[in-house]
Symmetry: C3
Subunit: 328 residues, 3 copies
């Protein structure tokens, strides 16, 4: 990515030891253009901001920015520069990269997220904002009802960014760092991890694991699974092409081409042996599913009489219901 | 439905352009009787309300109602009449029909919901109420913590109505417009779409898609799927009869009769070929599952040695655990 | 359990009829030691507390405790003693036992929870605290936004206790009474019922039903199911040994030994007939899956050509990704 260097300006919530819990970026700018400017404020030059970071300025600008963004007690102003795409070194960098993904600046798998789990602290996400897990009892005894939505290293996407033209029926199920294209609908049973997402209009009622990308006009049926590489032992990056349908409760363990269908209830792992059928329904060969990776126009079923997994030429086309994706 | 004409009185939250985001109905009355009256106020005559709608009254009553229901800044009073069951024409009509479903006045599929997706705006459902998705940044910068629960055209049922005698373990997963009968328990993995629901006591740990109806004393196991008709390409309206069990992670693509069981993990699509067995376990015929639609006393399994889907006479009876459904 | 007798001191939220809705325990002590002391206050002697319960004291101490714990309008102080492990007799006892589970004092299935469903009232869990389901309209009309998170007999774990060293990505999906060991990560699709949980580091992306225990270093893949005994007709208590992997969308209906794997998408019920293979892939016998209960080093798959469920010696070892479980 030639997006770097770039600078982000945001606000970090602190615990009682003044340690950062998160960063909410309000401004992101590269040398040449603004990527984000939530307050639509007149921004200083890139070089001016570098002076602050290098502590060679006179603090005036920093104070002004603090006031503009209304930094409160228990928070601090963050001005952070990423020079090049190295491993994630601290929480400000982690959040800045997660923003770049969810703002649709960087596609999943195009940016270095190594060490992000190590860098991010485990935080209680509450109705009173992010809270240090170890300081939770302090908050519980304050005035006002206190409820915890999540205890996790990643916050919900929608508490930081709501991308245009998307619906997310249950906001708990999409992490900051998800890449959701215009026209994406994530239903209640859908899930999108960080560094994962959709490249166009899509109906997501299944789970998009970290690293997994879904092509445009594809439909992930309710409860379907895409294998991830973070846990559970899968090594291959999974993806779904364009105009595909993963049936409800199905599963995918190979990178799928365009115009492919996996029958509802069928879990296709890379190691599954598959009978390949021609258009006359004759078995032409038996291969591992992984050998069919990225091939187009395939229909995968389990033959309900013989019990074998079969792959046929796919003749049906998947058409999304337009009214479900005009998300205005 | 001969319920119409009827009139609803409610409060609508507005965006900054004075456009409606939702309607919370406090009163619904047909010519003859009250359907809803949350404030238990003495209601005006139906004809009097029609005068307000036709703007032939003197505004006095409208003012009174606004006061009684305490309409606030950023809200407006809605008095809406549905004359007959036409396509949904605006947001007030959409909400009134969703209320009729969730108040158990109209059964799923008995009422015209055409155009509802077009009519409903996409709204951010937040801890500060419904917010226009395009005005979200404005709210974020206000005082007080701001968190988003959902970005969707439909709100959660329980933020508008809590039907008597139900448990809903995760309120995010039941939309306004769901029809939940007394004695229904929707567990954390359960889901109920609008225009869908249960006709009696039921344990719901699976997903009830739009248009799907579940008969009394039936049990939808964890993660089970019922095929919907809104997306994914299924055309037939799915239903489940009485005293049925859909096993965990199973799926259903046909209308099911009474006292039927689908084995855990088996996805029965309409096109699945099924071996039909008699009570001596002899295969009597092979049919498409759709041919067994609405037949009673069937047990569907996948033979774990031959791999074929089989249908046998069901001799077991499904009995719900009573203590899980006394929801008081 | 020889933990009894013990005494809990907490605060109960009341409905308008002064009936208890919940208990938040701040202190739990057995005769010999403190189990919980959220306010780190100097505690009275066990016998002194017994005097309060027996109403043989002079009320002074009770008043002091009320002040220390800041009992508010609409709440009451609860001082409750469990003498021995009888059936659950009231709501204070129910909560005290749920605390013992989630505080990791009592393992699942080691404590008498009979009648807990009968004893617990159905409560609306809202952003304004627990509310009587029948009094919900009263709250809706108060000032301030009102939203309902759950209508259930059990609250979310994290609104009462956050165990150390755990992540719970979606707090709605873990009930109070869950037993989560240090190093447990419950992802968005994970679920843990009361009286169920993990005995060590674990990745939970599937559902742990009531009564089910997961051994250390095991991985429950996304959407996998463990059969419960509360509903759906299973009688055998299910468990998972150490170093096991349940693949995504799989299911388990037998107690599983150590170092076992169930292939993604395979639902293994107790009654499934299974072909047992030796290390040369010869079928040595066909048994019901229940006959393989608690045996170690097994790999269960569905042969994707013959469609039969097969069990082979498992040679792969399951290794959890460490960085996902350092939950600090």
């Amino acid at each position: 990515m030639n997006i770097f260097p770039l600078i982000g300006i945001g606000i970090s919530t602190l615990n009682s030891k003044k340690e950062q819990l998160d960063v909410r970026y309000h401004v992101i700018l590269s040398k040449d253009h603004e990527i984000l400017n939530t307050h639509k404020i007149k921004l200083p030059k890139f070089e001016k901001l570098e002076d602050i970071i290098n502590q060679t300025d006179d603090d005036q600008l920093e104070l002004e920015l603090s006031k503009l963004l209304s930094v409160k007690e228990g928070q601090k102003l963050v001005i952070y520069k990423i020079v090049k795409d190295d491993n994630v070194s601290d929480i400000s960098e982690a959040y800045l990269k997660l923003y770049l993904l969810s703002l649709r600046i960087c596609k999943p798998n195009s940016i270095n997220l190594k060490n992000i789990f190590t860098v991010l602290p485990n935080v209680a996400w509450t109705n009173q904002g992010p809270v240090d897990v170890d300081e939770i009892d302090l908050f519980r005894t304050r005035n006002g009802e206190f409820s915890v939505r999540s205890v996790d290293k990643f916050p919900c996407l929608t508490d930081y960014i709501i991308p245009s033209g998307v619906r997310i029926a249950d906001a708990s199920r999409v992490r900051l760092g998800a890449y959701l294209s215009e026209g994406t609908t994530v239903m209640h049973e859908g899930f999108v991890n960080f560094n994962a997402g959709t490249l166009g209009t899509a109906m997501i009622e299944g789970r998009i694991s970290a690293g997994v990308i879904i092509g445009k006009n594809s439909d992930l049926g309710g409860g379907c699974s895409t294998m991830g590489t973070l846990s559970g032992g899968n090594d291959v990056k999974i993806s779904v092409g364009e105009d595909c349908l993963l049936g409800a409760n199905s599963g995918l363990g190979i990178p799928l081409g365009d115009r492919c269908i996996i029958e509802a209830g069928l879990y296709l792992t890379g190691g599954s042996k598959v009978e390949v059928l021609d258009s006359q329904n004759n078995i032409t060969e038996v291969v591992k599913a992984s050998a069919l990776s990225n091939q187009n126009d395939l229909l995968f079923i389990r033959n309900s009489i013989t019990g074998s997994i079969q792959c046929k030429p796919n003749l049906k086309s998947v058409v999304l219901n337009e009214t479900l994706h005009k998300n205005d």
